[in-house]
């Protein structure tokens, strides 16, 4: 009788302790300003990713096509200046919005793939960088540190002058958290990187779908190495080109990755705390998240696993 009562008491104690721990976790608001922010901006058919380190260092990778959209988003985010702008390659759906963003936020550093294009958009981009006085950085194999954030640059292979083939790859590291942004890299560019820099690309926490999920990019073979937990596809609603392709979606599904899409969900924001805990929000920029919203989000993340 006494043993049974003691057993029930111990069980009750464990349940109370568990609930207490759960409550303390749920009631702790996220402070985006003290975390790494990765925001996939909704630019329609194109790419634009904004990064902010916990120390306030800012990076913009690509700027979508519309000329003023990204600069407006940066205003909304309260950005005063950019530290680094990377143009993954010179196609207009990646650099169109950079012209205005560079003119307004005068990045200290600018990097592109070094493969000149003949469009007016590309010429305006370079003129904007020139006027802003940004330091040009070559896209060589190198690491760029911005506070506690490290960007490993994967250089364009230069086996021809094709813009997609010569995308710049960027692998972000923050503690144990790792994310990769490979521009519009084609399958052969990805294979080149995997043959030279595979250590940077395995077991990713977050992955930006290459080339908006086109069938020329991600494959089950590539995904089997990258093994991303989450994939974000930056793509326009009802786009002319049929992105994302069924083959790409199947490649993400083949590794069990959770898929987010800017055409369906708007901005996709990932907030990474110093311990590596990553929270994903859709349709909004990160703000200090209310405990109840965090609890709902956690629950939906949990249910998504099934």
């Amino acid at each position: 009788m006494i043993r049974r009562s003691l057993g029930r008491f111990a069980l009750l104690l464990l349940v109370i302790l568990g609930l207490g721990l759960l409550w303390s976790e749920l009631s702790r608001p996220i402070d985006p300003d003290a975390s790494l922010q990765i925001i996939f901006l909704d630019v329609g058919q194109g790419d634009a990713v904004y990064l902010r380190s916990p120390e306030g260092r800012t990076v913009l990778i690509d700027g979508g096509r519309p000329t003023r959209l990204v600069a407006g988003y940066l205003d909304d985010l309260g950005v005063a200046q950019l530290d680094l702008v990377i143009a993954s390659h010179a196609d207009a759906d990646h650099i169109g919005g950079l012209v205005e963003a560079i003119a307004r936020f005068r990045p200290r550093f600018f990097m592109d793939n070094g493969v000149p294009h003949t469009t007016q958009t590309y010429q305006r981009l370079l003129e904007s960088v020139d006027t802003a006085g940004s330091q040009y950085l070559e896209a060589t194999e190198r690491q760029l540190e911005l506070g506690t954030l490290t960007l490993q640059i994967l250089p364009p292979p230069r086996f021809n002058d094709d813009q997609n083939d010569n995308s710049i790859g960027v692998v972000l590291s923050y503690g144990d958290f790792r994310a990769a942004f490979l521009g519009d890299a084609t399958t052969r560019t990805q294979r080149y990187w995997l043959s030279h820099y595979q250590a940077h690309l395995i077991d990713l926490d977050l992955y930006k779908a290459a080339h908006h999920g086109a069938r020329t990019g991600d494959t089950p073979e590539i995904m089997a190495t990258l093994r991303p937990t989450k994939v974000v596809i930056s793509v326009g609603a009802n786009n002319t080109y049929g992105h994302p392709a069924r083959q790409a979606l199947e490649s993400y599904a083949s590794v069990g990755a959770r898929i987010y899409r800017t055409d369906l969900q708007g901005h996709v924001s990932v907030v990474v705390e110093s311990g590596g805990n990553a929270i994903t929000l859709t349709g909004a920029f990160p703000t200090q998240q209310a405990p109840w919203a965090r609890a709902v989000k956690r629950l939906s993340d949990l249910l998504a696993l099934f």
Binding site: D91, P116, T119, Q123, R124, V129, D130, G133, Y136, E138
Partner: protein, 89 residues
């Protein structure tokens, strides 16, 4: 008037006009040897019931534009020399 081929996407070409605006056009409507980066001269012949649009590759204009872009890139490279290697920004 002239268009520049910004890129190809599946069966589409994305063309840029002189103002920097871009639009897709079926790839099969372009000259057979067209490549991304080509500048195309546009000539329109208007009739009563139809108009004829002629797109002609212009290698000379393409080369001049590429040279101009390379010069701009070279200017950025020399204006502030890249120290190279790993950097703390």
């Amino acid at each position: 008037m002239r268009f520049t081929i910004d890129r190809f996407e599946e069966s589409w070409a994305v063309l840029e006009d002189d103002s920097g605006d871009s639009f897709p056009l079926p790839r099969r409507l372009l000259p057979a040897e067209s490549q991304a980066g080509d500048i195309l001269q546009v000539r329109v012949l208007h009739g009563h019931n139809r108009s004829l649009v002629i797109l002609t590759r212009d290698p000379g204009a393409t080369e001049r534009q590429r040279t101009q872009a390379e010069a701009l890139l070279a200017r950025l490279r020399t204006k502030k020399a890249d120290p190279g290697g790993d950097l703390k920004l």
